[in-house]
Amino acid sequence: MEPLEEKPVIYTMENKPIVTCAGDQALFTSLYNPLALQLPREPMEWRRSYGRAPKMIHLEANFVQFKEDLLPKEGNRALLTFPFLHIYWTDCCDTEAYKASVKEDMLRWQSLLRLHGSLDWLIVVVESDSKKKNKTNILPRTSIMDKIRSDFCNKQSDRCVVLSDPLKESSRAQESWSSFLTKLRTLLLMSFTKNLGKFEDDMRTLREKRTEPGWSFCEYFMVQEELAFVFEMLQQFEDALVQYDELDALFTQYVLNFGAGDGANWLGSFCAPVRSWNGLVLRRPIDMEKREQIQGGQVSLLDLRSYLFSRQCTLLVFLQRPWEVTQRALQLLHNCVQELHLLEVSVLQGALDCWVFLSCLEVLQRIEGCCDRAQLEANCSHTVGLWAYSSEKLKSLGSLCGLMSENRPDSEDLNRTVDLLAGLGIERPETASSLQSPYKKLKEALSSVEAFEKHYLDLTHAAMEMYRAIGRMRSARLVGKSLAEFYMRKGDSRRAEGFLQDALSSYVSEGWSLPITHTRKQVAECHKLLNQTEDYLQTSALLAGDANLTDKEREHFCQEILTYASHMSDSQAKKVVLSMSAFAQLRQLQFSPAAAVVHVGAALQLELRLHSLMPVAVRLEQLAAGVHFSLEKGGARGGAGGGAQCRAGTVRFPQESPAGAQPRPRPPALELHEMHDRSPSDRTLNSAGVVCKNVHLLLRRRGSSASLDPPGHVGVAVDDGAQLLKTSEVVLSPGNNSIIFTAPSREPGTYTLRQLCATVGQVQFVLPHIYPIVQYEVYSQEPQLTIEPLADNLLAGFPQRVKFTIVTGHYSIKKGDALQLSNRDAMPILQSSTCSAYILSSTGERVGEGVLSVQSSEKVTSISLPLAPPYHTIQFQLEALCHIPPTPPRPETQRLTNGELQHWAKTRKRADSGIAAIDHKISVDCPWSIYSTLIVLTFHIPFKSKHSLLSVGKRKYIQVCVQNVSEMKFHLVEQSLAEREGTLLELQSLNAKTQQLVHSKQSLFYVWEVKWVKDLPLCLQCVFSISFSPAATEGSSYKPYRYEFQLENVSTLYSMRAEIMPAPEAQDCHTGALCVLEVCITRLAELCEAEKEDTGLTESDGLYTAKLLYEVVDNSSNWAVCGKSSGLVSMAVAASTTHSVQMEVMPLFAGNLPFPNIKLFKYLPHYATPVLQTDTDSCLEKDSVSLLDDQTADTASIRSRGSVHSLGGGEQVRGPPLPRLEPFGAGQVFNASRGRQVLVLPGKDDHVLEVNVT
């Protein structure tokens, strides 16, 4: 080791804490190397005061020979030169020697230490075996130690250590080494803690005095920096940085307070005018020059900041946090500029720009120096700010020094440049060799226009590239815009335009109106300089309509367009086509008439509402709308043309706010339509889907100039428009304008508005598409006649009003035109009366009234029509009468052989309502056509009739039911019933004579008794007739109604009587007890001719016997039939033949029980030929008539008997040869005991009394 001589402390990394060595120097020298090697090998935990986190540190030390002047004098606070530990080395093992010299030496050493108040000492006793052997009088090993301990370490026994055999490779030696090193480290740390703590306390005390007058920041700065140095020395860079940050914050606070008026005297020195602006120096760890200035209190603000930052930078680089440097650098630069401003320090104009520029580059170069390229590129985001800042500063320097104008800098500019360069001083030695040093760059840039441009472009492009690389597109564009401004000043508009357009499109797409306006103005300037007329005019149009500009500016741009338009009109220069959206907006289109559907030749007006964006009124030479004509007629007839057209015939256009204040006008709504794909053969669904009909609008690329369509396309379209709506000489005043077009309607078809074109001199403003689609339709219509009932239903039988409507279409009704209605026999008769017809225009207004004359002849009714122009409507009403056909005829029977209908009138029965209807076809000859028009009128018969035959024994009654099926009320009188042959019978009326009112859906019943003299005919043909008149209209005449019907098998053949008696031994019928049912069948009539033909009879010896089947059925389950419930009876066919049958039945309930049903059938043997169908039919008829007889249930029960085939299936009888049952006609069997009841008492042994009341 070499003893430390008095030389200036070099503040470098090589600094280590100082440890002094006293005693045996030779001994120490021999141990120095292993000691210096082993000391930092193991880390030691450093516990610290004030709750700071403990740290593991590797200790190193600078061992120097002990000298008295190394000890700090009173008041000297230097920490770097402070000896933290004093060690005394001895290898004395001899008591004599110890006593003789060593002890004395140690005492002197101790007293010196005590004098300087240093308590950090250690005595090391080195023992070696070799030395011991030489001595004869060897004391026990510990004795020297003990002696030293008792002499010096009366309290601190740990201040004395033994190091045994340090130079030998033995385990004992190693052990001893390690315990020694541990002790040494512990003591060193103790010393650090104690001394640094004391130092920090002192420092704090000093800081607390900062409000006292005479306090100097620079002094304090030096003290705290000392601490930072120590931390740096201990490699605690974090702590060192904290010291600088504290200083930084303290200083900042002073400046702020000063700015707020709370001045500190010492700050005055910082406010001296700035004379030097040579930027940051980061290449040296410590800028001694500046440090000395600080020490001397002669520092300027910029210098202090520079020094502070350079220290922070150094530490951050040690800490491997270079990106924090860039971030802090930007803050520092901003802050310095602000602080100088705040402190009102006088600075030469541009000097700060120089300083900032130099500093930026210095920081960047420093960072580049400690990182590789890949790292730099990955961390562009940290450095880009500095790049942009430096380019900004260079630009302002350039404009200050006249380096950016087209002309060379003048003398004033040059003077300024010289002043600025003077402030840079001379280049620092460490950068002198570098060609790219910030100093050289700035000097070069300020020296000539060309060099400036080169440097400026370099920086700007670098910044832009970096912004692009990290995705900060907006920032990149802003830099680009500033570059464009530079180019503009240099007169290079071509290059500027690209950058400006780029920026403009970004602003437009994001809708920032002020930047748009500003940038657009610059673009316009570019275009003007570049002589790009069309672009210039388009931009001017946009600017003229820009609300962000003043009226004067807008008028200027508008005038530019107008000037161009008028200047060029004489020459044959090509027309300039511009987009209309900048010039005016189409707000609304209104059709009149509103439906936008007119007939050929009609007037259709189109009102255009155009919102002019120009600041002044503009005279348009022509305003034209291109129309696309197509022949196809959409299904839109009646409705307005386009889908978006609303009912009122007004189309509103989505309003774009002026000049892109709203960035994206909302995309149009989806127009979705359902789509089905069916296979052509069987119409099954192959696929279904949804189709978007306006994909072309929705998927259009947005962003870039949507307003500018390629002019070529527009021009072609203008020429193409064969059909044009035009108006000339329109003056568009600012704001809303209303322009009226008359739309062409010469040909039928669909007209679609395609584009709008406004012409001002040589300039055309074109709106290439009109969306939503606007259409109108022109149609041509054939004349048309409709006849329809006035009411819901036409009723037959009395006059009904019928409405005639003639739509004239393209035909005009001339004088003498008439409708010819051909009547046939059953035709409704048109009442020949004079009435008037109304003539309506196509819009439904009544325009006239004409007299109508109706002339009826045998075959033809002629209606003469009033005069009417085309596309008008004639309406009139006539009365028609349809006679009710006598019987509801059956269509089947009325078919003729050739299949044609017999009558013109055709009746049909509606299944649902049961109203019979008659369809009448009328053939009308119209004047406009050679063909007849067939029109069908349907009349409904207001009544429905039913008849039935009722019998009492042999007496017969006929009942007719008339039901009013219409909605009206009717009066009915003069009912009568007549037999068609009318000879033998007398029909005695049992009905009221007065007129009767029948309401809707009501029925009236009429009954006649049939009386006859001789024989009752087998078949009765009856005619029922009645007169009716609608009750609503008083005094109207009565109209006849007839109903014809036929009755068969009228006479009664059998009478049947039943009797129920209690069992012979019982008095009464009881529930659960058997009773006797006796059925007595009596033949009432003699054999008649008709019956003979009946196959059910068997003949033997001229006597006919009929086989009858009886059946007892109890539907209400009151009775249980015991034994046979049915049986066959053979009866002789002669009057008064009686046959009686007995059966046993048991009542199931008590009370007055109705008799069970007893039914009688003809029993036909199996060989019998089937009955004719007509017969069964008539049976059916009677069946349905005699519903009241409660026989349907009986028939049904027969039918349910599987083996027996009944009436309905006549043709099936041919199959199996089974016996057949055939019911009797309604009047043929009289049930004498019908409706009778028998009293049944409850069973005797029943506990429960059941009473059944029916």
Binding site: L256, G259, L330, Q331, L333, H334, V337, Q338, H341, L342, S381, G385, Y467, I470, G471, R472, M473, R474, S475, L478, Y507, E510, G511, W512, S513, L514, P515, H518, A661, Q662, P663, R664
Partner: protein
């Protein structure tokens, strides 16, 4: 004391922007527009790192020589930008935060107005006066 307050829609067009003094309006528009770069950067960084921990305040977006630009983003990605003068050192982070909170509350009121069409420029008087108050005095 803010010099410029802007509300920017999710699609990055301004819903509201006001600045004092008015002669520098254009410059503020450029500044606010450029700050969107940093806002987007921060949003995407937050999106990656902490999805559930939603800190709406984005902090200092970037300082310039004269101004400090602070950002805030609502959950619906509406951005608030406040520009303050660099020389105004009395404003701390907390004050900026509270300004944003106020702004957000007022903006929520605007959105709650049934007659306000989301996406339209804000024309509410209440919002305007609140912004004016923030521009005049430190909050």
């Amino acid at each position: 004391m803010a010099v410029c307050i802007a509300v920017i829609a999710k699609e990055n067009y301004p819903l509201y922007i006001r600045s004092v003094p008015t002669e520098n309006e254009l410059k503020f528009h450029y500044t606010v527009h450029t700050s969107l770069d940093v806002v987007e950067e921060k949003i995407s960084a937050v999106g990656k790192a902490l999805v559930d921990q939603r800190e709406l305040y984005l902090g200092l977006l970037y300082p310039t020589e004269d101004y400090k630009v602070y950002g805030y983003v609502t959950n619906s990605k509406v951005k608030f930008v406040i520009v303050v003068d660099s020389s105004n050192t009395s404003l701390r982070d907390n004050e900026i935060r509270s300004m944003f909170r106020k702004l957000h509350n007022s903006f929520t009121d605007v959105m709650c107005n049934p007659f306000y069409n989301p996406g339209d420029p804000i024309q509410s008087k209440a919002f305007d006066s609140m912004v004016s108050a923030m521009m005049v005095q430190a909050c």
